[in-house]
Amino acid sequence: MRPARALVAGAAVATLFLTAACTTDTPTDPADGGGETSAEETDGGEETGGADSEWFVQADYDRQLAQREVVPEGPGEEPWLQAIEPEYVDTAEFASEGGDKTLCFSNASVSNPWRVTGWITMQQQVEVLQEDGLIGEFRVSDAADDDNKQISDIQAFVEAGDCDAIIVSPSTTATLTPAVEAACESGKPVIVFDRGVESDCMVTFIHPIGGYAYGADGAEFLVDNLEPGSKVLALRILPGVDVLENRWAAADKIFSESELEVVGTEFTGGDAAAIKDLVTQYLQRGDVDGIWMDAGDGAVAAVEAFEDAGKPYPVFMGEDEMSFLRKWQDTDMTAIGAVYSNFQWRTPILAAQKIWAGEEVPSEWVLPQAPIEAEELDAYLDANAEMPSLHYAKFGGEDLPGFPEAWTDR
C-alpha cells in the first residue's frame, strides 16, 4: 500500500507546485482583519459563545446599542430607505444611462421562512423596476447554503461580465470574503446585504442595526420584566453563525450584568419538536420564568411546552414571525417580538437603482431595527391578517403592487 499512499500524497504536493506556478485571479489576501474576527479555537469547556467569547466585540456592541436610539435619516414611512448615521459615498463612476439593466443576485439560500419572505419582497421590488424598464434581466443564483457553490456563483457572474450590478447575500461572512472581493475588482458595483463580508470593497453594505441590538432588545426586555433571581432559558438555533452568535453574546452580557439566572443555553436547530422537548424537560426540573431566543423559529412550540406542562406563561422573547405574534395575542403573555428587519430585502434593489442613477448611497447602509412591543402588536396583526404563519410582520412590502397575493399564496 505504501507506494499508493505515497502517490496520493505526491499528487497533493504536485498540485501545490502547479498552484504556485500558475497565474491567478486570487483576491488580495484578506488576512488583515480576517484573522481577528474569524473564530479561533475556543476551549472545549466553554461551548455556547457568549459575552466572553470571540464573538463579543465591545465596540460593535456599544455602537449597535446606541444606534437603536438614533433617529434614522430618510422617509419614515419607508424604513427600507432609511439609514442610520450614513456616510455617503459617491457612485458617479457607476452611473449609466438607459434601462434594461442586468441585475445579478447571488443568494445564500431561501432555506428558512425569514429568507423566503424577504425573497418574495425582493422579487416584488424587482418587478416594479422591470415595469419601469430599468431592470431587464434579474439573474439569480441560489447557493442552497453552500458557501462553495456561492463562491462559484459569484465567480460565474464576474466571468459572464454582463452584470450591471451584483447583489450578494453571503451565506457565511468569512468564507465569502475572497469571492466578494474578486467581484469588487471586476469593476461592477457590488451590493452586499444581510450578513457582511470582511472587506469594505463593495459599494454599499446593507443591513439592519445588527445581532447585538437584536439580542439586547430581548435580553433587556426580560431583565425589565422579570423579578431579580428569575430563571431564564436561552434557546439558540446553532453555533457558529456570526449573526446568531452576536445576538447571544449581547444577551449573555446583559444577563451576566443582571440579577437573572440563565438556567440553560440549548441549541435546537430551530426544530420545533426539539424546542418543545427541551423546554418541557427544563420545566420538569424546575420553573422557567423567561425565554430568550436567538431566532423566532419554533417560538410557538416553546410556548406550548408551558401550556402542556400546565405552567404559567413565561416572559417571552420571540420574533416578528406571524405564528408567534398570533400566539402572543391569543395568550396575552408578556412578550416582545424582536425584529431583524426583513424589509432589508428591498433595499439592495433600490440601492442598485440609485447607483445606476449615480446617486450617492451610504457605504454602510444601516437600516432601522425596532422590536415589536405589546402596544404595536394589534396593528401588525391587522396589517398582516391574511399572511401565513411563517411570514414576518416587518416585511415592508405593503405598498408593492403584488401585495398581498404574492406573500399569501406562494
Binding site: 500500500m1 499508493a4 499512499r5 502517490l7 496520493v8 500524497a9 499528487a11 497533493a12 504536485a14 498540485t15 501545490l16 502547479l18 498552484t19 504556485a20 500558475c22 491567478t24 485571479d25 486570487t26 483576491p27 489576501d29 484578506p30 488576512a31 480576517g34 484573522g35 474569524s38 473564530a39 479561533e40 479555537e41 475556543t42 472545549g44 461551548e47 459563545g49 470571540e54 464573538w55 439560500s109 431561501v110 439573474r139 442552497a144 447554503d145 453552500d146 458557501d147 462553495n148 457553490k149 463562491i151 462559484s152 456563483d153 465567480q155 460565474a156 466571468e159 459572464a160 461580465g161 457565511t172 468569512a174 468564507t175 470574503t177 475572497p178 469571492a179 453555533p239 457558529g240 452568535e245
Partner: protein, 364 residues
C-alpha cells in the same frame, strides 16, 4: 439494498478482452455526452452558451469538491464498505488546514500535512471500527461522523483559521477554463485508477469487495485492505477539505451540512460502481461526478428553482441507476435472469468459499 444491487453480478467486465461487452464506465460517459448535448441545446435555446468559459469553469469547479470525496468513496464502496463521515472529515480538514496555516505562507505545507494526517487518522478509526469491532460500516461511519461533528461544534464556532493567499490559489487559479482544483482532482483520480488497476492493493480491494472469504483464502489481509480503503477515502476527503479552506480563505465547520456524504455515494453509484463492491472504477466515478456537475450548471444557467433542482437530481439518480440495473441483467440464460437478485449465488459467483466447511452438497 443488498439484493437489488446484486443484480449486477452477471455482467461482463472490461477485463475480458475477447467478446468484450461495453462496460459500465463507457455507459457513464455516453450518458454524460448525451446529457451535455441535451443541456447544450436547452441552454442554446435559452440564448445562452453552456460551453462558454464562464459556464465551463463553473461546471469544472463544481466537480472538484465532490470529485475528491467521491473518488475516495469509490475505494470503500469497492470494498463493500461505506463512508458516511466524509462530510465531517471535509469540514474538519478545512479547519485543521486553515488554523495550522494561520495566514503564514511558510506554514502552508504544514497545514496541508496536518489536514491530510487528521483525515487519514479518522479514516484509520473508521476502518478499525468496521473491521475490528465488526460494526456495520453504515453505523460505524455515521457514529464516527457524529463524533467529529461534536468535536467541531464544541471547538470551533463557525469559520476558523486563515489561509494565506498563496494557498488560496489552489481554490481560485485557473489554467484557461480549467481550475487548478479540477486538475488536482484529475491527478488524484489518475492515481486512484493506477492504484486500482495496477497495484496489488487495488486488486485486493476488488477481491475483498467481491468475496471476502476468497480474498482471505488467497492470503489477502482483508481487514487491512478495508482499513486502507477507509484511510484513502478520508484522505481524499481531506484534500476536499483543503480545497474548501483555499476557496473560503478560512476553515468552516458548517461545511458538514453540504450533504457531501450522500452526494458522493450517489456519484459513485452513478459512476457504475456496485454498491455491494467488487466491481467499479474511479473513471466511472469521475463520470458520475461530471454528470451531477453538468446538471448543476445547467440548472444554474437556466435559472431553475433551487428546490426543483433537488427534485430533478433525485429523479436523475434513480433513473440512471435503473438504467444500469436494466442492462446488468444478464441475457445469457433465463436462469441467470431469474437468479439475478439472489444474495448467495452458489457456483457462478463462487460463493461460500469457507474452506472449513466443505460439505457434500454438490453445486450445480
Amino acid at each position: 439494498m443488498s439484493t437489488a444491487v446484486a443484480t449486477a453480478t452477471p455482467t461482463a467486465r472490461p477485463t475480458s478482452r475477447r467478446r468484450r461487452r461495453i462496460g459500465s464506465t463507457e455507459i457513464v460517459y455516453l450518458a454524460l455526452v448525451g446529457i451535455l448535448v441535451v443541456a447544450g441545446v436547452l441552454v442554446a435555446m435559452g440564448g445562452g452558451n453552456l460551453f462558454s468559459t464562464a459556464n465551463t469553469a463553473y461546471m469544472l469547479t463544481q466537480t472538484s469538491l465532490l470529485g475528491f470525496v467521491a473518488i475516495g468513496q469509490t475505494f470503500v464502496i469497492l470494498c463493500r464498505s461505506l463512508d458516511l463521515s466524509v462530510g465531517y472529515v471535509v469540514a474538519l480538514c478545512s479547519i485543521v488546514g486553515a488554523t495550522t496555516m494561520a495566514g503564514d505562507p511558510s506554514r502552508v505545507w504544514l497545514g496541508v500535512v496536518a489536514a491530510l494526517a487528521a483525515a487519514a487518522g479518522i479514516g484509520l478509526v473508521n476502518g478499525l471500527v468496521v473491521t475490528k469491532l465488526r460494526v456495520n460500516a453504515f453505523i460505524a461511519t455515521l457514529g464516527v461522523g457524529l463524533i467529529v461533528k461534536g468535536y467541531l461544534d464544541t471547538q470551533f464556532k463557525g469559520p476558523a483559521g486563515d489561509v494565506p493567499s498563496s494557498f488560496q490559489m489552489f481554490g481560485y487559479t485557473r489554467v484557461g477554463p480549467v481550475p487548478i482544483s479540477t486538475i488536482v482532482m484529475l491527478v488524484v483520480a489518475a492515481v486512484g485508477i493506477v492504484l486500482l488497476t495496477r497495484t496489488r492493493q487495488g486488486y485486493h480491494m476488488f477481491a475483498v469487495g467481491g468475496n471476502v472469504d476468497v480474498a482471505r483464502l488467497s492470503g489477502i489481509r482483508a481487514d487491512r485492505t478495508v482499513i486502507i480503503a477507509h484511510v484513502l477515502c478520508s484522505t481524499c476527503a481531506g484534500i476536499a477539505g483543503l480545497l474548501i479552506a483555499a476557496r473560503f480563505g478560512t476553515g468552516n465547520a458548517l461545511v458538514y451540512s453540504y450533504g457531501l456524504d450522500l452526494d458522493s455515494i450517489a456519484a459513485v453509484v452513478l459512476g457504475g460502481t456496485l454498491l455491494l463492491g467488487g466491481r467499479g472504477s474511479v473513471a466511472g466515478t469521475v463520470g458520475g461526478v461530471l454528470i451531477l456537475a453538468v446538471l448543476d450548471t445547467v440548472f444554474n444557467v437556466l435559472d431553475v428553482d433551487p428546490f426543483f433542482k433537488d427534485v430533478l437530481r433525485g429523479v436523475v439518480i434513480i433513473a440512471a441507476v435503473a438504467l444500469y440495473a436494466r442492462r446488468q441483467i444478464d441475457p445469457a440464460s433465463s436462469r441467470a435472469r431469474f437468479r439475478s437478485n439472489r444474495r448467495r449465488d452458489p457456483v457462478r459467483s463462487g460463493a461460500r468459499p469457507d474452506p472449513t466447511t466443505t460439505d457434500g452438497g454438490a453445486s450445480a
